[in-house]
């Protein structure tokens, strides 16, 4: 059996070959590279240093920094290098303001990881703590000071809600965004969240070998990890917003201690000039914590994290009469001369509907009904128009839909017969048409939606898509589905009426009248609870609205003010709008003068 002998020979040679291969591999590892491996095993201190990428800065429309970074010092621990947890906890407790027990627990957790990657133990330490750390560096095993980046909010509470905040990415976010690693910073709210992918940047990664004192002894780890490459740090991109920081500040302060929202918008481009939501919060309070008691923060401040301009939905009250009037004109239910007598109340199926002016307005035409905000006029004519006639116009102005701004947004409710059947399983009653016509009942809107509506009247009939980020595009976006230009005749009629509401003797918006520019606008006083329910408690007070634009003939800016439980729109909201409009023109004048002075 010669063939078997032949095969045995092959097998013998194979075994010898393998012996030689393994001996050679051992020779390579132990003799050729032995020195390096020995070095490495003695220290066995490979560190993966993360170089945190600074998040992009945020600028306002004039190039003013409204969110930027400042260096901060973080204490980080390399889990693999901790041998005596108790000792380290004791030493650290003498430095940072964290109870030793808590530190010990956290450090135990960290040490069990045996990872080359550092874990943060204290964030943004104070100057005193920094000095102490530097002094007792030797006693702190596996510790290193990371120079990180801390968010600085020069406008504090005024812009906090709009800008949002960052936090450590949670498990869900790590799963959703492939580039976000556990422990990374992540935009949680507002502009920080919406533009996170651009603001974020890419953290650098550097592998170094260090000695027992944390001193880098070799920057190259090629021998050990030939395929391991350092990663360049890429700073986050800057973002330019359409906000005017000065106007934002004034708007925030103008609300005083009231809860509410303000939206100021460039009527032609849809650029948001100011967007305020109150109450706000102190941004430093949210980003600082490391042993994050996020739940506590959320509970205490959740209501103030909400951007009321885009996420708060309210009954619009009389500001909706702008749309009702537009619908009446377009559907030819009313012409400017149609007259209605207002005795202060109106009966539908024997049910009494009051006008806000109990003694009545007397004879009203459409112009006067808008100027004096007569409810009875709209009750009567809206019944002729019907909800089916009114609903398409709510849609046309973008109510019940997101405006498309790059911020988290609510839709609000734009009710119709179909809507009611679907959501409440009930038929539509005529009385509901009447109260819808004056902005009560099921209808709810966000202040931003009202701002878009007013801007459309102001700019001659174009529904613009509001923008928060400055882009080079000249052409304003329009909201999909509401792309057609509104009828010019009806728009110009409304413009006259809104001018009248502020500037005529009996107008409801007279408190917005300005000496430096012409203002047009509409008040709204939205009931929170049924009128029969009388109470002096703040939370049962009406919401005050005022939506306006200026100058009346060639509008530039629209300002919408909502004061939650503020009472009458005329008294509570109109003066705030006036202040913002005047500030806008004052700032414009100052800047023009400064520009001229500079060029001369």
């Amino acid at each position: 059996m010669g063939f078997l002998k032949h095969r045995f020979t092959i097998v013998f040679s194979m075994i010898v070959l393998f012996f030689l291969v393994f001996s050679a591999r051992l020779f390579y590892l132990q003799i050729y590279k032995g020195e390096e491996y020995r070095n490495f095993s003695e220290k066995n201190i490979l560190r993966a240093l993360e170089l945190p990428a600074p998040r992009g800065r945020i600028f306002d429309r004039n190039g003013e920094k409204i969110l930027y970074n400042k260096p901060s010092f973080n204490i980080r621990i390399f889990p693999r290098e901790v041998t005596d947890v108790e000792d380290l906890a004791e030493n650290l407790a003498g430095i940072v303001n964290i109870p030793e027990k808590e530190l010990l627990k956290k450090l135990r957790e960290i040490a069990s990881l045996k990872s080359f990657y550092p874990v943060t133990i204290a964030k943004d330490i104070s100057r005193e703590e920094l000095l102490l750390v530097e002094k007792s560096k030797e006693a702190l095993e596996g510790m290193f000071l990371e120079v990180g980046h801390k968010r600085v909010y020069p406008h504090g509470e005024a812009a906090a809600v709009l800008l949002g905040y960052i936090g450590i990415a949670d498990a869900e976010e790590v799963k959703t965004y492939s580039q976000v690693k556990a422990g990374n910073k992540f935009g949680k709210m507002g502009v920080e969240k919406v533009f996170d992918s651009e603001l974020r940047g890419i953290n650098g990664l550097e592998y170094v070998m260090v000695d027992a004192h944390g001193k880098v002894i070799s920057e190259s780890v090629d021998t050990l990890l030939p395929t391991r490459k350092n990663r360049e740090m890429v700073p986050g991109k800057d973002i330019h917003l359409t906000i005017d920081a000065q106007l934002q500040k004034v708007a925030y302060e103008a609300l005083g201690k009231e809860k509410g929202a303000i939206v100021a918008m460039d009527v032609k481009s849809g650029e948001i000039l100011a967007m305020v939501s109150r109450p706000s919060y102190r941004p430093e309070h949210i980003s600082k914590e490391l042993f994050p008691d996020q739940k506590r923060i959320k509970k205490k401040e959740s209501f103030s994290l909400l951007n009321r301009s885009t996420q708060g939905t309210y009954p619009p009250g009389s500001v909706l009469k702008i749309i009702t009037a537009f619908a009446l004109l377009e559907e030819k239910t009313a012409d400017p001369k149609s007259s209605v007598h207002c005795p202060g109340h109106y009966f539908i199926n024997k049910k009494r509907f009051n006008c806000w002016r109990k003694e009545g307005h007397g004879h009203m035409d459409l112009h006067k009904a808008i100027v004096e905000s007569c409810d009875v006029y709209f009750y009567e004519l809206s019944l002729k128009l019907g909800v089916d006639g009114l609903y398409p116009y709510l849609k046309k102005f973008g109510l019940g839909e997101r405006t498309g701004i790059a911020l988290p947004e609510k839709r609000g409710v734009s009710p119709s017969k179909t809507w009611k059947r679907k959501h409440l399983k009930e038929p539509w009653y005529p009385g509901e048409t009447a109260i819808l016509a004056i902005g009560q009942g099921y209808v709810t809107v966000t202040p931003l939606q009202i701002s878009v509506m007013t801007s459309a009247i102001a700019n001659g009939g174009i529904i613009v898509k509001p923008k928060i980020r400055k882009t080079d595009e000249k052409e304003p976006f329009r909201i999909p589905g509401a792309t057609q230009r509104l009828d010019a005749k009806s728009v110009s009629f409304l413009k006259k009426a809104l001018y009248g509401a502020v500037n005529e003797h009996r107008g409801t918006g007279i408190y917005a009248r300005s000496k430096i520019t012409s203002v047009s606008g509409k008040t709204g006083t939205a009931q929170v609870v049924s009128a029969k329910f009388e109470s002096t408690k703040k939370r049962f007070q009406d919401h005050a609205w005022f939506t306006s634009y200026a100058p009346s003939d060639s509008a530039e800016i629209s300002v919408t003010v909502l004061v939650e439980n503020g009472g009458s729109g005329s008294v509570a909201a109109a003066p705030i709008a006036k202040e913002i409009i005047e500030t806008y023109f004052r700032l414009k004048k100052e800047r023009d003068e400064a520009r001229i002075a500079k060029s001369e």
């Binding site: 059996m1 063939f3 078997l4 002998k5 095969r7 045995f8 097998v11 013998f12 075994i15 010898v16 393998f18 012996f19 393994f22 001996s23 591999r25 051992l26 020779f27 590892l29 132990q30 003799i31 590279k33 032995g34 020195e35 390096e36 491996y37 020995r38 490495f40 095993s41 003695e42 066995n44 993966a48 045996k114 990872s115 080359f116 990657y117 050990l224 990890l225 030939p226 395929t227 391991r228 490459k229």
Partner: protein
């Protein structure tokens, strides 16, 4: 059952080599016991003593007895492999253990011997040896190999399954496959690779393979063990760090240092000279068994002996390639060096069979 005295004087070399390896393995376990206690050392000592007893018993059997009982041995452990899915204990994700009192046993180790003996039995039934076997003739041996392999894959214990497959395939290949059959087998294997990859290979196993091909995917997670093992071996340099001074192993950087990575510890503490010495001992055993196979005239004995050599060979190759970073991490022990009852006894049974078969 008739007994025959083995010719000890002529085979004493094999026993000496085995004893030396066992001694090295025990010393190694003692050296890493300073932190973790002598539990593993003592247990392994018991296994080794039991092993030598097993060798003594098997070596007194007649070769014909072995041949006649190969099917009993094979079936016994095959049934145990089946029962494991009912009574088995799950250790680190694989259901491959029986727990009887303080003793836990892994039938997937013993089945290796069963496969070898069954294959030898099958090929020995032919009156005259063929140079190559065609597809039909291969059907039975391939089935004998694939049934236990499938059971082990289902546990799932990929490392052991791969070893069984390699041992059996070595025997089948050694005895010859016709060109035609070989071609067809290669085609079938290639075609079945896609569903195997998607259905049989678990995610963590894929990750190991990926991480082996490119350590940059996660150097501190999956290939962490491989890196640590290489550091341990490399840092041993020429002469080693000395008995129980292996910082890699004693500081727990090295995982599973008394089982699959035991040879890394020896390399760290005894350096290149120690590692090569063990390698030399190990390959001497393989060559010795193989040489025994060539000298045997009885066909069953020759094939069984070849199979035992293949078993030692593949265990050594996979284990050493793994710990030196030449292969991805596949959990396979190095006989006599790695701690473990089932694998140690399996190795001793192998040695016993070789001693038994060498009798005239």
């Amino acid at each position: 059952m008739k007994l025959e005295l083995p010719n000890l004087s002529r085979y004493s070399w094999l026993l000496v080599l085995t004893a030396l390896l066992c001694l090295a393995g025990l010393m190694n376990l003692y050296s890493i016991s300073l932190l973790e206690g002598l539990g593993a050392f003592k247990k392994q000592l018991v296994w080794i003593l039991a092993g030598f007893l097993t060798v003594a018993i098997i070596s007194y059997l007649r070769p014909l007895t072995l041949k006649n009982h190969s099917i009993t041995f094979y079936m016994f452990f095959l049934v145990l492999l089946g029962l494991i899915f009912v009574f088995g204990k799950t250790v680190s994700g694989s259901r491959s253990w029986f727990q009887i009192g303080p003793i836990s046993a892994q039938p997937s180790e013993f089945i290796k011997i069963g496969v070898i003996m069954m294959l030898a039995n099958y090929y020995a039934t032919e009156v005259t040896a063929k140079e190559n076997y065609n597809l039909v003739e291969l059907l039975k041996p391939v089935a004998l190999l694939l049934v236990p392999t499938a059971a082990v894959i289902a546990q799932p214990d990929m490392g052991t399954a791969i070893t069984i497959l390699l041992i059996g395939s070595s025997v089948i290949l050694f005895l010859g496959i016709s060109r035609n059959a070989l071609l067809k087998i290669i085609i079938v294997v290639l075609i079945s690779m896609v569903p195997t990859w998607h259905l049989l290979i678990k995610d963590y196993q894929k990750e190991r393979i990926y991480s082996f091909m490119d350590t940059s995917t996660d150097p501190f997670g999956i290939s962490y063990n491989s890196i640590q093992s290489q550091i341990a071996i490399g840092s041993g340099m020429g002469y080693g760090k000395g008995f129980s001074l292996g910082s890699q192993s004693n500081l727990n950087f090295l995982p599973a240092h008394h089982t699959d990575f035991a040879f890394s510890v020896i390399s760290e503490e005894w350096g290149f000279r120690g590692a090569v010495f063990i390698l030399l001992l190990y390959f001497s055993i393989i060559l010795f068994i193989l040489n025994t196979a060539t000298s045997l005239e009885d066909r069953f004995s020759m094939i069984a002996c070849f199979g035992i050599a293949a078993m030692f060979f593949w265990h050594a190759v996979i284990n050493i390639a793994m710990i030196t970073g030449l292969l991805p991490i596949i959990g396979t022990p190095l006989f006599f060096i790695s701690y473990g009852g089932s694998s140690t006894l399996t190795a001793f049974i192998g040695i016993g069979i070789v001693l038994c078969l060498r009798k005239k």
